[in-house]
Symmetry: D2
């Protein structure tokens, strides 16, 4: 931690800060410049309350030096984490594709999509039984009935299945039926939910909040890991910006930035980023070219009739051709698919 | 709903869209221009799925005409809603001030702050027993023990008390101890929590998410109201922008914009917007000048020692002087305080 | 300047950094922690190139300590600057109001508006002869013909007149006709223009770019001041955010933040912030309550017919009532009007 | 153009709007719903002033239907534009790489970098003689002396050369020395400069402003084209967002979005987007995978000593390896390199 003293700070102000640092059992190193004095604090700064210093006379600001996350940090775990579920690996050499409809609507649809995406090469099947909808008057999902269908998909197709969990009260139930739990963008800082999925012994796909920083995203992963669950898959789905022509902006820099800071696998959701099926292929290619470990794609056999997100879902035909095209991109960056 | 056809759309595309509209029992009005055709859809458009049209050949885009919220809308409820709790009115002529510490830390502190803010003119006492912290390693709140202290504050001071609820599992418990429930910014789109507080018969202070639009904010209120609880108090606490020098940007336009679109009371949290005690007074003055119905201010008798948010808390002395200064501003815009 | 070494840095890396600092004639202070080493650099850091250090082995990042602006900084000029033009003071105890149409359209309109705003209490008359329009097909302004009209307004009404200058080639010409030059938001980082108006001996109203930080805004002022022109009036007109319901977001925190960091006068343009005449009054009240030294308001005697910005212009009647209402707000914050 | 009437609009309000439309020689189509009336305006709406309608009683809002740009629009020019300079094509099947130092610093450096990037496969040499710097105290570029060096680079290496022009007064001079003019992000809405480069018969690389929308970006191209210069190369360099860990966010969706809306070539500047040499390769790969026609990359033979942007410049060695790696990505998306 660094404490930057203001231009107006006098010797007594500096002294008071140093004493407070020492009384907490830490060391203070002083750099005295012509205009400002900088105080480096060395030791276990987690013992300190930032507020203690921020309000002291003469203090201009506090600069944090250490990253706030530990278990998610590559600093303490240099090698890539590879998460394995029933033989499907996420974060390894091979690009992993999760695909499926936005929502579970009917068993018939679900099986038809599942069989199709499996044939095209997807290894994980995505579908939501609980839907976070902006309007209380929109379809809210099929609930447990949908979870049962998902389980059946797994049994009959062998696909690994994942679904969203939104409510702390449902974590146990959801974990009973699926292989991977998903925490959506709106719940990235629903800390009680993060703690609850942190107690489950199944992997969690964690999406970034649309206005979260990369550091906050990793702190959300840290919440899950701090409860004992280390199998966190980060899913980048874009951020909200000033641009009205897209649902979200897809900051491709997030991928190498995450990769530099964490050992956790990073996948990309091109559907929620683009919000438009026309841009899914370009986004998917870019994600893999930038180093993503996989994709989470919305696919529907009849998107026009989808209960939600129809605009951003690929048809099963288009998904099949996407999968073929991505193979070359994966190979170009030395990945398998 | 308006359907804008693309420049490339032909007569058959237009025909197909019109037929789909009619088959849903709605009416289509066509405006045929030189380059593009516009189709106005009249009737209960909530029956339609946007996705149905967005993917049809020739369709360029869909423009929504009606606001998505109803119960929160001033269109259907032109008069201001005034919410009353134990004689304290929010949304009326008088400016209502809620003040108190960020977190409940100890009974001694709590009573000391409560008595002080009461003397200065606050009518509602704020304090959190559950804390949404960015880090799992930070103080997470005192839980039920804190709620009990809050209840005691109410009994001994007569102040109306409010606190944050973060977890669906705690809604009932929290409602047992306090007068007003608060849903924080991070949970503005925690839809299960919104539904749960919508079932309680106590007022709810709802904060805007830091990247929510005004329309999404009102849709979150609509969630609560759709469950039967109409006593929603909107609390604007600023938004995240590119500016690094403040915790959040405080878009003062949000106040007249909310007032124009909803009948619900609108209060402002200057502490979380500014993130710095030095700017609380200017923000508070501006909020009242712009038409806010009240403030939610963090006050601590010893901010340097606060478990959290020390930087943005006012001392009890400073709060007292703020209250005095605000009276003149309230009077200048024909409000009482 | 502070150099934060990465976790992976070894003793040789630290040594190399220290040697580079010393070889530039500066001093290095070292704080050695368990995980990271921090190096405080003391002396005239403007001699250093940041890039020199950022790429050195083991360096994690550079933290600037000093503000990049000097002449604009309150640190070096603690007292408020008051700028005076023909007896009109900006930045003093009195709130100064500039008002007038977006564009100069005709002499008749111009005089009618000028006389009206003068009667209501405006001291500066604003009107643009050169218009930065998003479309090349829109009205681009009357040019020198308009400037002549402005000069006539000044001669006949006694109002101080101001107008926008967009092109380095026009600076001299514009300065010949008007009392105050205005640099618009889109040109806040048109550095050649800033330098050019920096050579003129007339005050300059400088608007913030819609995505500029407060620090960049002050650096733009510094550009003007570095050429010798110290009469810079900062005009805050809001920033671009994710909110679609307003033209710009009006971060009211910008006012106390600017006031804390600079001695220059700060005025607010409520018209361009709100983009909607309905919200001008609330914004204007808030601006004055937050500490602004004045306003720049668009007023038109027939906004429906205005060549541009009709939606955000006040009618002369509405402006007159605004001026009356603002007096009480100004008094509430101990300012005159 | 669509006029949406408010819920409170009565028959007279609707009538007044219709009459105004008709009196301008246009047609009005009415869709009358239960709550709101929508009026479609057909004909040459550029004759209308939006403001005329926005302020009429009962009008809620105006929705534009047509894109504001024409010459830049793919609607009116479906085929890709290919721009050719001395045999180098931009926008064709082949990916075009422009590379070189941020600023021209010395002839020796310049030639060394130029020869190196040429050998690696770059076809265009970039280097700035005029530098837009945030601080007036930073190196501002070598001016005409630098332009002369650039010309010499062209003569001796055969590379096409490009440089930035910032001031209307320098356009002619710059055009005399280089093959391609560049308009930087900060000047994207410097309309006088856009008009001036629109009169030159040399291609222009136009960068997006960091908070510009895609539509505004294309309107800036339209400005240049409206003066007669149709050779505009769009260069996407990212946007400013809330993320502090990168210089700019690189919204990869901008590429397919631009490609869908315009026929102009689209290249990407990974250096200014990332702001960090470590992320240039991932960004470059993603850009090409997403459909960009080329790159504009900062390369320096000794980045630590660069006068500016050292942190984001690639070494010549790293650039050489980047070029090799990009070939496979280009091939994977059926492009040559």
């Amino acid at each position: 931690m660094i404490i930057v003293m203001g231009k107006e700070a006098d010797a007594n102000n500096v002294k008071a800060v140093i004493e407070k640092i020492k009384s907490a059992g830490l060391k203070a190193f002083i750099s005295e410049g012509e205009f400002v004095t900088i105080i480096g604090v060395v030791g276990d700064v987690t013992k300190l309350k930032k507020g203690e210093f921020e309000r002291m006379d003469g203090v201009d600001r506090i600069v944090a030096v250490m990253k706030p996350y530990k278990q998610a940090s590559r600093d303490f775990h240099p090698k890539n984490s590879v998460i394995e579920v029933d033989g499907v690996k996420i974060g390894g050499e091979k690009i992993t594709i999760a695909a499926g409809p936005c929502a579970i609507e009917s068993e018939e649809f679900l099986f038809s999509i599942a069989e199709s995406v499996k044939k095209s090469g997807a290894e994980i099947f995505r579908a939501s039984a609980y839907k976070p909808r902006s309007s209380p008057y929109d379809f809210q999902g099929m609930g447990e009935k949908g979870l049962k269908m998902l389980k059946k998909v797994k049994e009959e197709t062998g696909l690994v299945v994942e679904t969203e969990v939104m409510d702390t009260r449902n974590v146990e139930l959801v974990a009973k039926y699926v292989d991977i739990l998903r925490v959506g963008a709106r719940n990235m800082q629903n800390f009680d939910l993060l703690k609850e999925v942190g107690k489950v012994s199944k992997p969690v796909i964690l999406k970034n909040g649309i206005s979260a920083t990369i550091s906050e995203f990793l702190m959300a992963a840290e919440y899950i890991m701090s409860e004992g669950n280390h199998e966190v898959i980060l899913c980048y789905r874009g951020i909200r910006t000033h641009e009205p022509a897209v649902r979200n902006s897809m900051d491709i820099l997030a991928i190498p930035l995450l990769k530099a800071n964490t050992h956790l696998p990073v996948i990309v959701d091109p559907s929620h980023a683009a919000g438009n099926f026309r841009f899914i292929e370009a986004t998917s290619r870019a994600a893999i070219a930038a180093g993503a470990d996989g994709l989470l794609v919305e696919v529907h056999c009849n998107p026009e009739k989808a209960m939600c997100d129809g605009k951003q879902s690929l048809t099963t035909q288009k998904f099949d051709s996407l999968m073929k095209n991505l193979k070359a991109v994966a190979a170009a960056v030395d990945r398998k698919m």
